[in-house]
């Protein structure tokens, strides 16, 4: 039974806890797109978005989730690390908490930042992405989406493709999927798939084409343009040729396989536009599910 005060990652969650969150999200999901979106679960509670890394999508998703639960929501965004700003992360968090706050939703460029805050405040902390470490609510909404479509995880072949090395989405997905019994594969350029990732319980596949036809789920990660044309990758064309989910690759996929992407998508780079909008794609459903999952998480961390 869930009794945690924080959601910092999926690595430490048991199968039961993961299922409990997904079940709770289901109770919110149906009303999400109806006109009866509002609940009073968090009436009187204050939620602060503490984003040290820019993001409009995740902030919006969390903000809508909190508002639909009738919480008061405030956003504090700041770019730059503690050293450039002057005020330390702990000071910032405690100052905001001193205004009377129940939940801090934190996104930061540094792995471990939400954990540091959690150990210094009394409020609940929800990790909205810490460096390359975890993005637990993204992982949860991915799990939710897969469960809705596939009903189960055991034995399901899930392939995550792209810049695994720098992806917090990949790590959270891997932790959650492995706990729930899925068979996880990762693929991507040599320079962006660290060898030790196999120790997390996944199989590394160097050649995407080897696995695309067997996958039940293909999760395409966004490739950051700064990585391409740098020392890591030669060109977008090369990336697309080797790891892009092109129309040709989509044709080889199983008929009921899912295509997922955490967004925002680079049309034509890691995913062909036709595929992003095609019949395998559940990308927009992921987004809708995201709000429901975040509603569940915000409720559960304060014991509601």
């Amino acid at each position: 039974m869930w009794n945690r005060k924080h959601l910092l990652g999926l690595e430490e969650l048991s199968r039961e806890e993961l299922v409990e969150i997904l079940d709770r999200a289901r109770t919110f999901r149906d009303r999400c797109t109806s006109s009866e979106r509002k609940h009073t679960t968090l009436a009187g509670k204050t939620v602060v978005m503490l984003f040290f890394e820019p993001s409009t999508r995740t902030t919006t998703s969390f903000t809508l989730a909190a508002q639909r639960l009738s919480a008061d929501v405030v956003s504090f965004s700041s770019t730059g690390s503690s050293t450039t700003k002057g005020e330390t992360l702990i000071d910032t968090a405690r100052n905001i908490e001193a205004m009377g706050v129940d939940i801090l939703v934190i996104r930061h460029t540094a792995s471990g930042a939400p954990h540091l805050v959690a150990r210094h405040v009394d409020a609940s902390v929800v990790n909205a992405g810490d460096g390359a470490h975890e993005h637990p609510t993204q992982g949860l909404l991915d799990l939710y989406t897969i469960r809705e479509k596939k009903k189960k995880f055991e034995g399901l072949k899930v392939v995550i493709v792209g810049d695994i090395a720098h992806s917090r989405v990949a790590r959270s997905d891997i932790f959650g999927l492995v706990t729930l019994g899925a068979e996880v594969f990762v693929s991507g350029p040599e320079t962006l798939v660290p060898e030790p990732i196999a120790e997390l319980g996944v199989t590394v596949v160097k050649d995407f084409d080897e696995i695309v036809g067997e996958a039940d789920v293909v999760n395409i990660l966004r490739i950051q343009r700064e990585r391409i044309e740098g020392t890591v990758l030669p060109s977008t064309a090369e990336y697309t040729r080797l790891y892009g989910l092109t129309r040709d690759r989509e044709r080889r996929m199983k008929p009921d396989a899912l295509v997922m992407h955490p967004g925002p998508i680079n049309r034509g780079v890691e995913i062909a536009p036709e595929v992003a909008d095609g019949e395998h794609s559940v990308i927009l459903e992921q987004v809708t599910n995201g709000v429901a999952v975040r509603m569940a998480v915000l409720s559960m961390v304060v014991g509601k």
């Binding site: 945690r4 005060k5 924080h6 910092l8 990652g9 690595e11 430490e12 690390s81 503690s82 050293t83 330390t88 992360l89 702990i90 930061h108 540094a110 792995s111 471990g112 930042a113 954990h115 540091l116 959690a118 150990r119 810490d130 460096g131 390359a132 470490h133 975890e134 090395a165 720098h166 917090r168 790590r171 660290p194 030790p196 990732i197 120790e199 997390l200």
Partner: protein
């Protein structure tokens, strides 16, 4: 000054090959006799059940004077040294400003003399300002009292410049102490690049960034005939390079820190009582904590003489530089007061190292590397003596440290063994 008789202890003096019950007689600041001493002395120290060694030498410490006296002054640093059982320490020059002039060296020596506790052997910069661009005035630094040269904290990436430095150092008869890390390869890394850094999503420092740098330094030492001392070796690959270099006659020595001999990168996976990952910045240092396999290789290296010295790499930092995000935190931990108990508890008590080998790595060997006359209990030598109580069980408390800084991962750790009495130049500086 009078005389002191240290009676009834076990004398462990690897320099002379002695490891047996014996007394030590000190008079007017010098060791007079080691053996069965009859007769009286002004003061008698009962060393029954204790181990009597030459004064321990930590050949790799950082004090923060000038530049960051809040973290550590020379005075607080030498107090921490004797508190930890050390009678001498070699100070790294990466202060602000760095020690790259004769005046800088002189200032360090004066600061230590004024404090009157542990002796200090100043290490001076290899390059001006530690910038790695121009050689510092190595001859005048040596003349002013520098025991060796190092840009510690940074590697001299320009091989030709390092070669010139080694040629000069060879002529001066001083070692070049290299912090072997290729910065192009360690880039923004904050911990060992491996399974743990992958799991935590933290940028890694590869083992190769150290091995490649050590290889280059060894080749230069071979070419120039200079004495290369490799600072804080942390990976198996580097131990192997040094082993092979020694075998073919290169004048190379090496050291390993107490924390690299005891901790691995798995410490970064620790969670607190609530199950939250700690991302404990007291496990952040350079070189980073490595794998268990590397720890084993370092221990083996110590055992077979590939690694000559045990050091602390005492690196004091203000709390505010550690109570931040892991990637932003300063690198380094204090170690003068935790090195001895850790070595006793984790290496000697467990049978990994003999007392002789361990004490040698803290006395005769660093003395030999630095070219100083201490590190031995020989008649006529300065009376620098450390008396160790090997059986005392205690718990490390960072708030009881004499250092001005508290950045240590060992707070609350139960250990066995402590320096009971520290004598420098015939005067008791710590203990009874």
């Amino acid at each position: 000054m009078g005389s002191i008789l240290i009676q009834g202890g076990r004398v462990c003096d690897p320099a002379s090959g002695r490891d047996e019950p014996a007394d030590v007689l000190v008079r007017d600041g010098k060791i007079v006799q080691v053996g069965r001493v009859k007769g009286k002395a002004d003061r008698v120290i009962d060393a029954a059940g204790k181990i009597v060694c030459p004064g321990l030498i930590d050949m790799h410490v950082h004090f923060r004077e000038p530049g960051n006296e809040e973290a550590e002054t020379i005075a607080s640093g030498v107090a921490a040294a004797v508190g930890g059982g050390f009678t001498a320490a070699a100070l790294m020059p990466n202060t602000e400003p760095p020690v790259d002039t004769a005046q800088g060296v002189e200032r360090v020596r004066l600061g230590a003399a004024r404090a009157g506790l542990a002796r200090v052997h100043p290490i001076a910069c290899i390059t001006k300002g530690r910038k790695g661009a121009e050689l510092a005035d190595l001859a005048s630094l040596s003349q002013a009292g520098a025991a060796g040269f190092s840009d510690d904290g940074a590697w001299v990436a320009d091989a030709e410049l390092m070669r010139r430095a080694m040629e000069c150092a060879r002529t001066l008869g001083k070692p070049v102490i290299s912090h072997a890390e290729d910065p192009k390869r360690s880039a923004h890394g904050v911990m060992h690049e491996g399974a743990v850094s992958t799991r935590l999503g933290l940028a890694g420092i590869s083992a190769a960034s150290e091995v490649a740098a050590v290889e280059r330094d060894v080749l230069l030492a071979e070419e120039t005939g200079a004495h290369l001392h490799v600072a804080h070796v942390s990976v198996a690959g580097a131990v192997e390079v040094i082993r092979r270099a020694k075998a073919r006659g290169v004048h190379v020595t090496a050291e390993a820190t107490a924390h690299h001999l005891v901790l691995s990168d798995e410490c970064l996976l620790e969670r607190d009582e609530a199950g939250i990952l700690k991302f404990d910045t007291n496990y952040k240092m350079k070189p980073p904590l490595r794998t268990r396999g590397d720890v084993e290789a370092l221990r083996t290296g110590l055992g077979d003489g590939t690694i000559d010295c045990i050091v602390s790499d005492h690196a004091p930092h203000g709390l505010e530089t550690k109570a931040v995000e892991f990637s932003e935190a300063s690198f380094g931990i204090v170690g003068l007061e935790t090195t001895l108990p850790l070595i006793i508890t984790e290496l000697i008590e467990t049978g990994v190292l003999s007392w002789s080998r361990a004490v040698g790595a803290l006395t005769a060997n660093p003395a030999r590397v630095l070219g100083v006359s201490s590190g031995a209990l020989s008649a006529g030598a300065e009376a620098d003596i450390t008396i160790i109580d090997p059986g005392r069980e205690w718990t490390i408390d960072v708030n009881a440290l004499r250092s001005r800084s508290r950045n240590s991962p060992f707070d609350g750790r139960k250990v066995k063994g402590i320096a009971a009495c520290v004598i420098v130049g015939g005067e008791v500086k710590a203990g009874r």
